[in-house]
Every structure is written in C-alpha cells, then in structure tokens.
C-alpha cells in the first residue's frame, strides 16, 4: 500500500494563492525589492544568529500572508532535506556555525520566494519586471521579453520535473533502474525538445517577437530540421 498518488510537482513556486492579506495587497515591486534585499543581506551578514532570525521572519511573513502550510509543506520537505545535507557537509568541513547559517539562509530564501509567488499573480509580476527592465531597451533587450523569461521560469519548473520523471519511468520500464545515463540523456533531450516547441508556441501567439522582417533575420529561408 502506497497511498494516493501525488502529482509530479507540488511545490509552491509559481502557484498563486488568492487572498486579501497585507502581503497580497503590497505592490509586486515592493515584494520583489524586499526579496532581493533579503538575498543580499543574507549573503553579506555572517553568523548563525542573523540567519536564524531571517528564517523566523520568513516563516512569520508566510503566516501573515495566510498561505496554507499544506501547499508549501511538500516542497519545504525537499528544501529541508537539501539544507540538512548542505548543513551536514558544512559542519564537517567548517564547523556548526557555518552549517546553521547555510541551512537557515537557504530555507529562509526559499520560503520568502514562495511567499512572493504565492501572493502575486504572474501577470502582475510580468508588469513589474517589464517596468524594471525598461533601461535594458537601450542595449537591445525588449523589457516584455525579459519579463516573459521570468514568467516562463515559474511554469517551466514543474514541466522539467515531469520530463525528468517520465524519463526515469521509461528507463525503469526497460529494466534500467540503475542506469544514470538512461535517465539523464533522455531527460535532457526531452527538455531541449520542450524548449523548442515552447519557442514555436510563443512565436505562434505573437508573444515577444521582433517586428522586423523575420526572413532577413533568419539569413535564409530553408528550415533547419
């Protein structure tokens, strides 16, 4: 007996949870700014106690945002496992203080990032990133395209997890449970294939495309198959 099956990806990143909390009502720019500042502060401020304070604050922010814990629990388990592994290595290599700092920093940032995506619609995030990316227009990067890339990351995480799981299932079905190559190579091929088809789909929807003559850009019109 293994209980009900779970979806391949149940992480909180990218899942919007509607609500009316103060965190939901805060502007996306403010939330992204705080997240960036927190990342910078955690990188610059050393020591286990600031890291633990940051973790406590992140958990408090999640509580204030009233994002259900069951939504984040499964992904948090994975991050906690990674944090424990990293912490154990740091303890062995550099002592307990660095171990606690590394693990707490990692979990705090993941919790904060999850709160930002859970309390902000992707559409609002795109608007904010597009506004912030306006100066990049001067170096030839369209702000809408930069914003779209951020949105794609949120959607792509579960797709890549599914690609990897399907490749692993295919290897197991052929009796290649222990072959890393039989899982990694097809997973990589699936991911590249997915990226190409997604590019086609974005072009078909007219999202983020240049307005100039595409034939001239392509340098010819024979399809690269």
């Amino acid at each position: 007996m293994s209980g009900p099956l779970r979806p391949r990806w149940a992480g909180p990143l990218g899942l919007h949870h509607p609500g009316t909390s103060v965190v939901h009502r805060a502007s996306p720019g403010l939330k992204l700014g705080v997240l960036a500042a927190a990342g910078l502060a955690l990188a610059l401020v050393r020591g286990p106690f600031p890291a633990l304070v940051a973790l406590a604050l992140a958990v408090a922010v999640q509580g204030v945002a009233r994002v259900p814990w069951h939504r984040t629990a499964r992904a948090a388990t994975g991050v906690l496992a990674l944090a424990l592994l990293l912490g154990a290595y740091q303890w062995w290599a550099r002592g307990w203080a660095v171990a606690v700092e590394t693990a707490a920093d990692l979990v705090a940032l993941v919790v904060l990032a999850s709160v930002v995506t859970a309390t902000t619609r992707a559409d609002a995030l795109l608007d904010t990133v597009a506004r912030a990316a306006r100066p990049l227009r001067h170096v030839g990067l369209p702000p809408e395209t930069v914003a779209l890339v951020c949105g794609l990351v949120l959607r792509t995480v579960p797709v890549l997890v599914q690609d990897a799981a399907e490749a692993r299932d295919a290897a197991r079905a052929r009796g290649l449970d222990r072959s890393v190559r039989a899982t990694v190579v097809p997973a990589a091929v699936r991911m590249v294939g997915h990226a190409r088809v997604t590019g086609d789909a974005l072009a078909a929807r007219g999202v983020g495309e240049p307005t100039e003559d595409r034939r001239a850009d392509a340098g010819g019109s024979t399809v690269r198959a």
Binding site: D123, L152, R155, P158, T222, A225
Partner: protein
C-alpha cells in the same frame, strides 16, 4: 482569404554518410486559395501537413513562393499575420507558458488590453465560456490533457483571431474531450483550418486537402477527399517489415 502561390519549403537534413547536410523538399510546390469556413487537412505522418499549417501563421516561411493572409505576406508582415491567425498545437503542455489558466489567458491578452484589472476580467470571462472558471487559479500542470487543450484554445481565442489553425488538436485526447474540442471548433465564428487524422472531423469540413509526400494530391469535398486518402493508405506498404523473423521471439546467445 488565405493564398499560397507556388510555395516550396525545403529543409536541411544530416547526411547519414557523414557528409555535408542535404537539402530536402518538405512541401511543394503548392498553390491554394482558402476562403471556406472549415478546411481540413489530412495525410500520413510526415506527409507535410504540419508544414502546410505552420506556413499559414508564419511559423515556417516558404523557401520559394509566397503565403498571404488577407493580403498580408507572412514573410514581411509576420506580427500582423499572427495577430490575425491563431495557432493551436497538438501538445498543450508546450504552449501553456504561465503557472495558472487565468495567467496564461491574461498573457495572450497583454497585447490587446493594457489595464491589468480589465485583462483579468476578460481572462475570467474567456475561461467561463469554456467551462474552466472553476480551474482559473489551479496550477496548469494538474489539469487533465483535455482541460489543457481547452485552455490552449481559450488562450488563443481570447484575442479573437480571424483565422484559427489547429495542428492535430485532438490527437492526444480521449473520445469525450475530442468531442468537446470538436464541438467548440464547430461553433466558432472564425475560419478554421484543422490538420487531423480524425476522418469524422474531416467529414464535417467544407473542404478537405489531402497531402501526400509534400504535395496536395486532392482538394475538394470531404467525401471524395476521404476516399482518396483511404486509397493512398491502402496502397502504402506497411512501414514495419513484418516477416516471420520479426514475429519470432529472439533467442539468447
């Protein structure tokens, strides 16, 4: 009106012998005028159907000849063509690019509705029209294949294109969802060009093109076209060399 004038599409293919890439003809030469409400394209796998469909939206540009939609050339007016011609792919997973249905439809609407609140209202209304209102806030990856394809159609239709091109939109769906998607396509006011292996769907079209080995070998009413397609498939030898040796269980050395 969709016009294809002497269109040829070629592609580079690796040389199995290791030499320089070879240029092969995927489609052509094709000349067509399409102005019917419902056009179906049928043909074997690899016959050039999808290449023909992709030409209509400018996803593939002709190596020779020209494709025009309502007078706009796909090679020189690509963005304008794509505003008129929506495109739906076989695999909805590849074309849904936002985390939730509401956000995916809103992404399509960004180019027509700058106000975020109005955009969200339009997206919710589009989802409600296809019965996905209750799924608006769910993660896309937990939807069923049929729900994803319905969402992909909704995202494309939200910007009200004049023409909808669908490349095998029901191939991955079960019978129930196939009927749902077919029913939606049937009642659309837009002109629809659908590439399909479903001969029941082709039979409901006003005009059917049969594509074989990169050329349109039949163009006419569904009855004649489907009969021609069945003839072609009956004439084809099986791609599997089903000899006695293949059917036998291999012996271990």
């Amino acid at each position: 009106m969709i016009e294809l004038d002497d269109v040829v599409v070629t592609a580079y293919r690796p040389d199995p012998a290791g030499g320089p890439d070879q240029v092969v003809r995927l489609l052509g030469s094709v000349s067509l005028r399409l102005d019917e409400r419902r056009v179906a394209v049928v043909g074997a796998n690899g016959s050039g159907k999808s290449t023909l469909a992709r030409l209509l939206n400018g996803l593939v540009l002709p190596s020779a000849g020209a494709v025009r939609v309502d007078g706009l050339d796909t090679a020189t007016d690509g963005p304008a063509v794509r505003r008129r011609v929506g495109f739906v792919f076989t695999d909805p997973d590849a074309q849904l690019v936002m985390p939730t249905p509401l956000e995916d439809v809103a992404l399509s609407l960004r180019r027509v509705e700058p106000d975020p609140d109005a955009r969200e209202a339009l997206a919710r209304s589009a989802l409600a029209r296809v019965g996905l209102a209750d799924h608006a806030e769910l993660p896309v990856h937990v939807l069923s294949g049929g729900q994803k394809q319905l969402l992909a159609l909704t995202s494309v239709l939200a910007v009200e294109p004049d023409v909808l091109v669908c490349d095998e939109p029901t191939t991955l769906l079960d019978l129930r969802w196939r009927r749902t998607v077919d029913a939606l396509l049937d009642r659309l006011p837009q002109r629809v060009v659908v590439v399909t292996h479903d001969l029941d769907a082709a039979a409901r079209a006003d005009r059917v093109l049969v594509v074989h080995d990169g050329t349109v070998v039949h163009d006419g009413d569904p009855g004649g076209a489907i009969a021609r397609y069945r003839e072609l498939m009956a004439d084809e030898t099986s791609p599997l060399p089903m000899t006695d040796a293949c059917a036998r269980r291999p012996t271990r050395p």
